[in-house]
Structures are given as C-alpha cells and as structure tokens.
C-alpha cells in the first residue's frame, strides 16, 4: 500500500480529512501548507529540526526489551518504545519543536495551543520558552483540575494557561477555544495543534513530525531481532503517537497494528471515548472523521480516566485505515488501564502515563496468545508522573 502520497492535495485521506473551517482561517491554512511544503524541502530546516530533536529532546529514544513483563505475560517478546524518555516526558515535544520552527519561518511570534492531559501544553510551552515566543495554552477546567501538576509546569515555563469553562470542559472545548483565538489573532499567531486532528495540513504535518517514532523503532527492532515485529500497539486519542509509531510500518504487510481507544467505564455504558465502536463519520473542528455523536449530529460527551484520550473525534487518517482494515482498533477500560499502570510500575520500574497504560492493557490481553518467537512493540507515549496525584486521589490517598 502506498501511504506516502496521503493525504491528496485537498487534505483528504479517502473520504476523511479536508478543511471545514471559517473562511477567516482559510488563508492561514493555505499559508501554513505552503510554508510546510517549503520547509520539508529546506535542508536548513531539516538540519535545525534534527539538531533540536537530538540535543534538546534527547532522540533517538530507546527501544527497551521488557523482559520481566514478557516473562510475566508468558507469550510474545515485548519491546517498549520509550517516548516517555523525551524531554518533557512525552512524544508531544516532537511536534511542538517542528511547529515552533515553522512559526519562526512564518515570523509569527505568538503561539497558542490546546491541551487535554497537559503534555502537549507543556511541550508547547517548553518549545516556546526555548525560542523566546509568547505562549498561551487553552485547557478545559475539568482537565485543569485532574492535571493540576501540568498546569503549574506550564506556568513555570512562562505560558499563560486559560481555562475553558464550556461544554464538557475537556480537550474538545479547549480546541474550540484555541480555534476562536486563532481566528481572532491569525495574523500574529500560530496555532500548534497537538494531535493529528483539525483541518489540513495539520493531520499530515503532525503525522510527519511524529513519524520519527516509527522510523527509529523499525531500525531498532531490525538491529535487535533481525526481523520485523508481529504487532504494534499504541493508544489512540487524537492519534498522534499511534500514527507516529505505525506510519513507517504501513507498507510491511506482516506487521499487524492495534490502536487502543479509551473504553471508559465500558463501551456499553456510553461513558467512553471509543469512536470506532460507538461513533460514525461526521465533521468536527475542521475535519471529517469518526465522531461520537447523536442522531442529530450533536457531539456526545466523552469519558476516560485519561484526559489525553477523552475526545469525541479521532484523526482522519485513522478513520481511513479503520475502514480499510489496515489497523485494528479496540479499547481498554479505565479499570484495565489502571491495572496496567500498576503492572508496568511493579514489573519494569516504569510508571506510564494513563494514556500509554491503555496500550499496555492491550499488550496484557494480546501477548499471552502469541508465540514466544513473536515480537510486540508497544508505544510508551508518555510517563506517568503527571498522573500520580490523580491515581492517589482515586485510591483515597491525600498527597
């Protein structure tokens, strides 16, 4: 399958994607697309990006063989792609650095971003601080409460954090508010969207910035095992860490891929963010993709223990691979994710982000069914320090 040509020039991944935005933003999206196309071919831009990814972010991240987890589950050999070891603690910085470099090319000195779990907000605030740019982060007030630590981190980094008290007060509402800010200040401001969502060129550009995860992992696994993995597993909120890991393997027909959505308290309960089992196509925040919506097209409220997966839409490229059957999508419940969170801490000494714990929960289900000769790579997209306080609170421990 040829995936390198996707999206088409209209920003389409098959029927999905596109640019469903107010006219005010169209010129900015067209400018961004053009500037990104130039930057991609510009050796100087690529050299700068490579420099910051290596010296500031700490890439390449390691591909760690999780021996104790492998033994405990008693099946396939498990590797973890350690995006949690990136500067700021998650893969989000790969995209934030790339987009800040683009903003500098476009001479936009003000950066805005939305954040759910706070990881993208922290990454953006970090990149903005490093380049001396003004930065404002929009965050739902519900998320500010469950991710208080990251709110404080963003403020330490000099960003203004603005609470959004509309709708479900989570990621979706933060994106709407950031889009409104961008619409108002588009001449001076670049909007660093954090996942493979929104209007073209964002889903393509963010995928490209995150594709380094899979490029590294493919080389690393070939060096370590002399063969490709049987499975790739990653959690899917908007879908940037998963498409980042999967993209370099899409042409490898033997490699199966599983995206894990937030099952909340169970898909049957209605309190979840499993777009592929509970949703249907529609248009939200600039793109056509699978959405959780009612029969009138109103967007449903979502639920997940993990703020980063708590979103009603999924990246449009995922919707295409879902329809084609190239990637399998499943979900893990809050309880399964919390149990995987504990398991990884105890067996491997790694506290994963609650988002990434959804991927581990799937590994727990999958590994025992596979042969010992088979290999799974799971993307450990972020570290769990930000979640410690929330998990403690859920267990009745006051810190």
């Amino acid at each position: 399958m040829s995936t390198s040509i996707l999206p088409d020039r209209h920003g389409r991944f098959g029927p999905y994607g596109g640019r469903y935005v107010p006219e005010t933003l169209m010129p900015a999206l067209l400018e961004l697309e053009e500037e990104y196309a130039k930057a991609k071919k510009d050796r100087r831009f690529q050299t700068d990006l490579a420099y910051y990814l290596k010296q500031y972010v700490g890439r390449p991240t390691s591909l760690y063989r999780a021996d104790r987890l492998t033994k405990k589950l008693g099946g396939a050999k498990i590797y973890l792609k350690r995006e949690d070891l990136c500067h700021t603690g998650a893969h989000k910085i790969n995209n934030a650095i790339g987009q800040v470099l683009l903003a500098l090319r476009m001479k936009k000195r003000r950066i805005i971003a939305e954040t759910g779990a706070g990881q993208h907000g922290v990454a953006t605030a970090t990149a903005a601080a490093m380049f001396g740019l003004e930065c404002e982060i929009y965050m739902g007030t519900e998320d500010m409460q469950r991710q208080a630590l990251n709110v404080f981190r963003m403020r330490l980094l000099g960003a203004k954090v603005t609470g959004v008290d509309a709708g479900s007060r989570t990621l979706k509402d933060a994106i709407s508010e950031a889009m409104r800010d961008w619409t108002t200040n588009v001449r001076t401001t670049h909007y660093i969207l954090g996942s493979v969502l929104g209007a073209h060129p964002y889903p393509m550009m963010i995928r490209d910035f995150q594709a380094i995860i899979g490029k590294e992992a493919r080389k690393q696994i070939l060096a370590a095992e002399g063969k490709l993995p049987s499975y790739l597993v990653a959690c899917v909120g908007g879908g940037s860490n998963s498409i980042g890991l999967f993209h370099a393997f899409l042409g490898d027909r033997t490699v199966k891929m599983i995206g894990v959505e937030a099952g909340g308290t169970g898909v049957a309960s209605g309190k979840h963010a499993a777009r592929f089992s509970g949703g249907k196509p529609g248009v939200l925040q600039g793109t056509m993709t699978y959405l959780l919506q009612d029969e009138n097209g109103q967007i449903n409220l979502t639920h997940s223990v993990s703020a980063g997966l708590d979103y009603a839409a999924v990246g449009p490229e995922h919707s295409l691979y879902h329809d084609q059957g190239r990637i399998e999508y499943t979900s893990a419940t809050d309880a399964e994710a919390l149990s995987a969170f504990d398991l990884l801490a105890r067996e491997e000494g790694i506290v994963p982000a609650l988002e990434s714990a959804h991927a581990i929960a799937q590994v727990v289900k999958l590994a025992p069914k596979l042969k010992k000769s088979q290999v799974i790579i799971a993307n450990l997209s972020g570290r769990g320090d930000k979640d410690v306080q929330q998990v403690a609170r859920m267990r009745g421990v006051e810190l």
């Binding site: 010129p27 900015a28 108002t184 009138n296 097209g297």
Partner: protein
Amino acid sequence: MSGRLEATFQRLRDKKEKALIAYLMAGDPGLAETEQLVVALEQAGADIIELGVPFSDPIADGPVIQQAAERALKSGTSLRKILNSVKSLRQRTEIPIVLMLYYNSIYAMGYEAFCSAAKSAGVDGLIVPDMPPDEAGPLKGPADAAGLPLIFLLAPTSTPSRRKLVAEESHGFVYYVSLTGITGAKLSNVTDIQQNVQKLKKVSASPVAVGFGVATPEDAAQVSKMADGVIVGSAIVKRIASHQQDPAMVGHVAEFVRSLKAAMAPA
C-alpha cells in the same frame, strides 16, 4: 433561484434602503418564542431572518451565541423541529429565512434529505460557517436541485483569489465578516470594512451584507452606508438572554430591532 431573498433585496434597492438581517438562535429560549420573535421582528423592521441552528461545538461563535445554543439544545431543539417551525411560520409571514448551521447538522441528516426538507419548509438560503467553498462540493448539487442558495462568508484575511472564489460561489448574498474574529466581537476598523466591501462588490453579482460586531444603531447606521445589508446577531441574542423570564421579552427585542432599522434609514 431565491425568490424571497432576491425579491427583498430588489424591493429595498427600489426604496434605496438597506436590508436589516436579524439573527435568532432557534429554540432560545424555546421554538414557540422563536416563532413569535420572527413575526415581531418583521413588524419592527427586520427584512431577513437568519435562523441559527444550535450546535454543540460552534467554532465560529463567541460566548453569547454559544450560550444561546446551549440553552436551545437544553430546551430540546433539533433541526427537524426547527424546520417544522419554519413551515408553520410560512402560514404567517413571507420574510426570507436563511438558516445558519454547522456542517455536521446537515451531514447527520443527509445532504439530499436536508435540502429537500429545508426547501419545502420554506427556507430561503443556507449559511454554513465551517464550510468554505472548497468543501461545498457534496452539498452544492442537492442544494442547487432544491433551489436553495448557498451563502458564503468572506473575511478580512481573504486574499484576492479567495474573494473571487467566494463571490462566484455565493448566491442570495455574500456575507462579509467585518473582523478577524468570532461573532459578538467589537466592531473595528470601519475604513478596512469599507475598502473590502468595495472590492467585493466589484466582483460579486450578489448583494453584500456585513456581519460580526454590529451591535448598536450607530454601528448599523455606519455599516449600512457601505453594504447592501447589515447583519445583527449577538446584540439581539444578548437581549433575549437578559429577558429570559420576562413576559415582555419579545417586545423588548422588537424595540431594539426597530431602533436598528431607524438608524439605517437613508439620509
């Protein structure tokens, strides 16, 4: 193809008047009130009604209209019920009614089902704020077939090539967004508006109406000198919101609309 819209602009041109386009969020506070408001605002001088369809995630709208949408959804408003209201209004009034609705509301009903239902209810045009002409392809066929004009928006940030595209694709009228921002922001840079509207009128066969930020009779007076129509939204919705519990709500809002229209009278 737009009987009522075209006729209205023609009638006003003959009288050297400008169109006052009044925005209402359908179902805020309830559809019964919306129907009363449409009739009362027509009597108060509104020439065209822009009826907002509430959406859970209105990215082009500021807080005033967002909150109105939340109230309307809470009162159980849906697109189908709004179309029923338009149908029942058509027994009482011939004022042009254009719907302003987000793409997903149409998509969920289906392009053809929606267009034929809207047309037969008596809708005169569609404004879809998150659908630039570039994405209008799938809706255009069914809308043309039903005889429903698509009204596109042009912004201060639009380049000459986009101005041309919007002018060519827009029917009924062209909606010029007066500012880079969302609904309910403050009117600014009147000189810019004037220049951009003039450029737009050169390439547009349809009338040009200006909206976003028109909040007072003074604003309406100023803008009516530059364009064929003036759109007032948040300022009306704000008055509905502040008189929610007041039995005289419709009268208060009509009074405000009367003052807008009076300010737009040709000198």
